[in-house]
């Protein structure tokens, strides 16, 4: 085949209208293909993490706590049952964050792949949504695996516990979208990772009522929980997996909080992607 033939052929092959309607899916497809290279590692961690935490903290520390609190339990249940939904939400949030923050920095800075994607008919908005969809996919299978482990550990008490899966993914999506917008704005990532890890993720993990009821924290530290997607998701997860008591209003508040975060995150992410690619 000569050079001229290739040139003529490609005009027919590229269907710009199709790209316009499905671009985000194409981007997600490319990203998922990337992810597949590490899939065994990702799956391995996705399974090992809950097992390690549930055994060490849930059963190891939980055993001592259950003895200490007696039949009243923690929030009325075994410590393991209390802890598990929080870890489920945490896994979703961590999974989406990894899958939005790293690819975004990679795409803009390390490998500059977004710029070459943008040179095709794909738009910045589509690239942004594509990355987000991939993260959603990762959050989904991570949460399903985690849920399976929870079931195996006997940490599920309610028949509608499975609803905790979409709820956790929803929380992961909200936080992931916001982080993606943040990562897209980033010029110098060196310090960002440290700040994100130690000043954001770690306090969220520690102070969102993950390991003990938020109300047992001193009042001046409880606000961390209120602004933390992890706390909102954990409250919903506890309600769904073992019937933790929350008022209907609060259920709405939790969903509304996560929903607003998701919409804002997606909006800003798409906008920043477009702007930065056009720069």
């Amino acid at each position: 085949m000569s050079l001229t033939q290739i040139r003529q052929g490609s005009l027919v092959l590229v269907d710009a209208a199709r790209v316009q309607s499905r671009g985000a899916l194409y981007v997600a497809q490319a990203r998922i293909r990337q992810m597949m290279k590490w899939i065994w590692l990702i799956l391995g961690i996705a399974i090992a993490n809950p097992i390690l935490y549930l055994i060490s903290v849930g059963i190891g520390l939980g055993g001592l706590i259950d003895q200490s609190v007696g039949p009243a339990g923690v929030d009325g249940v075994k410590y393991l049952t209390f802890l598990a939904p929080a870890l489920l939400a945490q896994a979703a949030i961590q999974g989406t964050m990894d899958e939005t923050v790293f690819p975004t920095i990679e795409g803009f800075k390390w490998h500059k792949t977004f710029y070459s994607m943008n040179a095709t008919p794909l738009s910045g908005v589509q690239i942004s949504y594509g990355v987000f969809l991939t993260a959603l996919f990762r959050a989904f299978y991570t949460v399903v695996l985690y849920f399976g482990v929870m079931w195996a550990f006997g940490a599920l008490e309610s028949p509608r516990a499975w609803l905790a899966i979409p709820t956790a993914v929803f929380a992961g999506a909200s936080f992931g979208a916001l982080m993606q917008a943040l990562a897209a704005r980033l010029e110098d990532e060196n310090i960002f990772f440290v700040v994100l890890g130690r000043f954001v993720m770690m306090p969220l993990f520690m102070f969102s009522g993950t390991f003990f009821p938020l109300t047992s924290m001193p009042f001046f530290l409880q606000w961390i929980g209120w602004i933390s997607p992890l706390w909102h998701a954990t409250e919903l997860g506890r309600h769904l997996t073992y019937g933790h008591a929350i008022s209907p209003t609060m259920i709405w508040v939790h969903f509304l909080f996560l929903g607003i975060m998701l919409v804002l995150g997606l909006f800003f992410s798409a906008r920043i992607f477009t702007k930065r690619l056009a720069k």
Partner: protein, 275 residues
């Protein structure tokens, strides 16, 4: 004839022991650490101090409400006092591991800073000791700062607890020496991730949050092989004032780690840069 000062300095060391691998430049490398700290790495260093404090606040306070005391050797102690020494040991480990793995990997393979250093009249042992020295200094500062938090809270039960500071330095030294040795053999960033993956189970199972006696025998045995367990036992023993011969054994574990780590690091750096 004009003799440049650099040459005079190098010539003055001629004939000294180990002159081909070591030129006595550890202070200069520490100076580099300080300059880098001032202009770019301060955030990383300071945030490392925050980690154990957050754990203490969260677990010590929150879990402490569910589990007010814990029994150690027939004596019951406050939960926060039980975990504080473990957090001290863990932060010594984390700081040393970061400095000797991620940090070293980037300088070695990405920025190639060591290549530049070794084109001067320094040797590979200077570089190894300099990096490890910085990790120790950091471990020492973390230990002092954390001690300044926990001692006023009444979480250190014995005056022997002061020895936890040098113990933390010993722990940092052991982890830094081994971390650097392993990193110098690593080819890709992904391999480095494996080290980080091993840290989590070690942290979760080494008796930071409760005594390992709750585990079945086989798991206790495995846990007792891991370095962090020895680190925690050493620091906890000192802070609680439970002086026993086993403490020497824990310290010895780290002395061995230091020797093995330094040996392989120097060997590997020599092979990398003098091939």
């Amino acid at each position: 004839m004009f003799i440049p000062m650099a040459v005079a300095i190098a010539d003055a060391r001629a004939g000294k022991r180990g002159e081909r691998v070591y030129s006595g430049r550890v202070p200069q490398l520490l100076e580099r650490g300080f300059i880098a700290f001032k202009s770019s790495t301060y955030m990383i260093v300071i945030s490392g101090f925050l980690e154990p404090v957050l754990y203490l606040l969260s677990f010590g306070y929150g879990i402490g409400k569910l589990l007010p005391t814990i029994a150690v050797g027939g004596e019951s102690i406050k939960y926060a006092a039980f975990i504080a020494p473990a957090l001290l040991a863990t932060s010594a480990m984390n700081g040393a591991i970061y400095d000797s793995t991620m940090n070293v990997f980037f300088k070695l393979n990405h920025d190639r800073i060591y290549h530049g250093m070794l084109a001067t009249s320094m040797g590979p042992l200077d570089v190894a000791l300099g990096e490890i020295g910085w990790a120790l200094l950091r471990g020492f500062s973390y230990a002092c700062a954390f001690m300044a938090v926990i001692a006023p809270l009444g979480l250190v039960e014995s005056v022997w607890g002061l020895l936890a500071i040098p113990a933390a330095v010993l722990i940092a030294f052991g982890f830094a020496a081994c971390g650097m040795a392993i990193t110098s053999y690593m080819k890709s960033f992904q391999q480095l991730e494996i080290i980080n993956m091993l840290l989590l189970p070690m942290f979760l199972f080494s008796g930071s949050f409760y005594p390992i006696s709750v585990f079945p025998q086989w798991l206790q045995f495995t846990v007792n092989l891991m370095p962090l367990t020895h680190a925690i036992n050493l620091v906890r023993g000192l802070c609680l004032g439970n002086l026993e011969l086993a403490l020497l054994g824990h310290a010895l574990y780290f002395v061995v780690m230091i020797i093995i780590g330094l040996f392989f690091t120097t060997k590997r750096l020599n092979a990398l840069f003098m091939k």
